[in-house]
């Protein structure tokens, strides 16, 4: 029993560390990608190729003066970034980071908890994230912050519907809400039979989910809550020091988590092609699978940045039009088509 707790504790600490590290280096990557896309070189002063830049930024954030506005609601002002950070990190619990690792005959699953309702849990936790933005924006007592907060909540609520419906088609196919079982459903090359990644069966669902994930993470082209050209800084206008850092950090952790969810649901998670045909041992497959998973996550994090430095921001009415009148009908149509195909091919 104690060994179980130790193994879970180690796993929690490692996953926590990886998420924070990934968020830190996402800021670096973001600046590098932005620079490269604009034919610049980006941060290159702190350490070789500027790889110590996140550390320098972190120290700067901690050293900055902490300002809480006179008219702000002090408690909620502090609670806001805490909630944003907490909900961002909580979603990492159910992600299957790897398969089974067998040490001394004891199998260790590289996943903190395998809920049978893991997908619902992710949705629930991610939708709580809007409270961090709402509370922070409202507590600032500033019109720009409030605008940002209202935009964020309206946007998240609208896009969560389309996201939820787009996922229903996937659940109909796999018949489970457990993320681990969804990953196993996509295992490639098992004993001669081929299971393709879900993106092959659900291209439209993937596209809808991807667009909604962009909106949920408040990333360009849906970054209206913090649109600096219109709202100064949106919901974090009044924030300074590490509380601002927490908001920015939460955004990058959200990106990381949503990349992980996208790769889990649609791109096979820890599976990679020919994984069972190479004749490797169980542990080697697990380690390679985790590596493949992180490569997929890395690609989607890069994709987020790639899109950010390519597309301009939507106007607010365009955003609402896209959410309610394009994505939701498409998602419903996707559910209907999936059901029809499943009945016709006897896969019910």
């Amino acid at each position: 029993m104690t060994s179980f707790f130790i193994y879970k504790a180690i796993l929690v600490v490692v996953v926590f560390g990886i998420m924070l590290l990934a968020a830190m280096y996402s800021t670096y990557l973001e600046r590098k990608v932005a620079a490269f896309i604009q034919d610049r070189v980006g941060p290159n002063r702190a350490g070789p190729f500027g790889i110590l830049q996140p550390l320098a930024d972190g120290i700067k954030m901690f050293m900055k003066e902490e300002i809480i506005p006179e008219v702000a609601n002090k408690t909620l002002f502090i609670v806001g970034p805490c909630i944003a950070m907490l909900t961002a990190i909580m979603a990492g619990v159910v992600i299957p980071w790897g398969g089974e690792l067998v040490i001394n005959g004891v199998p260790y699953v590289l996943q903190i908890i395998d809920f049978d309702f893991g997908l619902l849990y992710v949705f629930g936790v991610v939708s709580l994230g809007v409270y961090g933005i709402m509370i922070g924006g409202w507590a600032s007592n500033n019109k720009f912050s409030l605008f940002g907060a209202i935009r964020a909540s309206a946007q998240m609520i609208s896009y969560e519907i389309a996201m939820g419906i787009s996922i229903i088609a996937l659940i109909m196919m796999t018949g489970t809400l457990s993320l681990r079982e969804i990953v196993e459903f996509q295992a490639g090359g098992t004993g001669g039979t081929w299971n393709f990644w879900n993106v092959v069966y659900q291209p439209l669902g993937f596209l809808l989910f991807l667009v909604c994930a962009f909106a949920e993470c408040n990333r360009t082209p849906f970054d209206l809550p913090e649109s600096e050209t219109e709202l100064v800084g949106g919901y974090h206008t009044e924030y300074s020091s590490m509380k601002l850092g927490f908001y920015l950090f939460a955004e990058y952790i959200n990106m990381f988590i949503s990349s992980a969810v996208i790769s889990t649901l649609y791109f096979g998670g820890t599976n990679f092609p020919f994984m069972n045909d190479l004749g490797l041992s169980q542990n080697a497959i697990t380690i390679l699978g985790t590596l493949a998973f992180f490569i997929k996550i890395g690609f989607f994090v890069f994709f987020y940045m790639w899109i950010r430095w390519t597309l301009p921001r939507f106007r607010y009415d365009q955003l609402m039009y896209l959410g309610w009148r394009v994505l939701i009908p498409l998602a419903i149509a996707n559910v209907a088509i999936t059901g029809l195909v499943m009945i016709l091919t006897d896969r019910v």
Binding site: F36, Q38, R40, L311
Partner: protein, 189 residues
């Protein structure tokens, strides 16, 4: 209707086609463009390590030249200060004492010589006005400072060190020197 200049463009706002309305082709077009830029050669010049070469006619920070023996050429005639359109140059003259022949070429020299680099427009008229070939604009940069006082350059910064001569031949090429010798040109008088 034709406009008078013929430059007017008729704008209309046509309904977007289906392909335009689903955004995806345009987005794919956009991300391929940014992807191409990702691998392009960067135009950045990494400044302290890498320096851009100046144009040969670049006019930067001034230098007060010494002659071949190491004596200052400037005689504090004040022509540069008169020529200066920005009134950036001030100086006080002093008489050379016996025994100072090694330091100053002529009997009169500039005891102080100051250029306010915030006023200076780097036009090079001081250089043209100088009859003693004493002041030149070089390809060195005037560095930044936190206070305005720091931009008033005295003789300590302007006069070239004896052992570390400043090269002014880039702009004073043989062609230019030849041109300067043509004394009947008003420009060179």
């Amino acid at each position: 209707m034709k406009s008078l200049t013929g430059k007017a463009k008729v704008l209309d706002n046509p309904k977007m086609t289906f392909l335009e309305r689903i955004y995806l082709p345009a987005i794919i077009g956009g991300i391929t463009i940014t992807l191409r830029h990702l691998f392009k050669r960067k135009t950045t010049i990494r400044y302290p390590e890498q320096k851009r070469t100046f144009s040969p006619v670049w006019r930067g920070m001034h230098v007060l030249k010494r002659d071949d023996n190491g004596a200052e050429r400037c005689t504090a005639c004040g022509l540069c200060a008169v020529a200066c359109p920005a009134e950036a140059i001030t100086m006080t003259a002093a008489e050379r004492k016996p025994g100072e022949e090694k330091l100053y070429r002529e009997e009169k020299y500039a005891a102080t010589y100051e250029i306010n680099m915030l006023r200076c427009i780097f036009c090079g008229l001081c250089e043209e006005a100088c009859p003693k070939e004493a002041i030149f604009l070089t390809d060195r940069l005037v560095s930044t400072d936190y206070a305005r006082d720091g931009f008033i350059y005295g003789k300590d910064k302007l006069v070239e060190p004896v052992d570390n001569r400043v090269d002014v031949s880039k702009r004073q090429s043989p062609k230019v020197l030849e041109f300067k010798k043509i004394k009947h040109l008003r420009h060179n008088r």
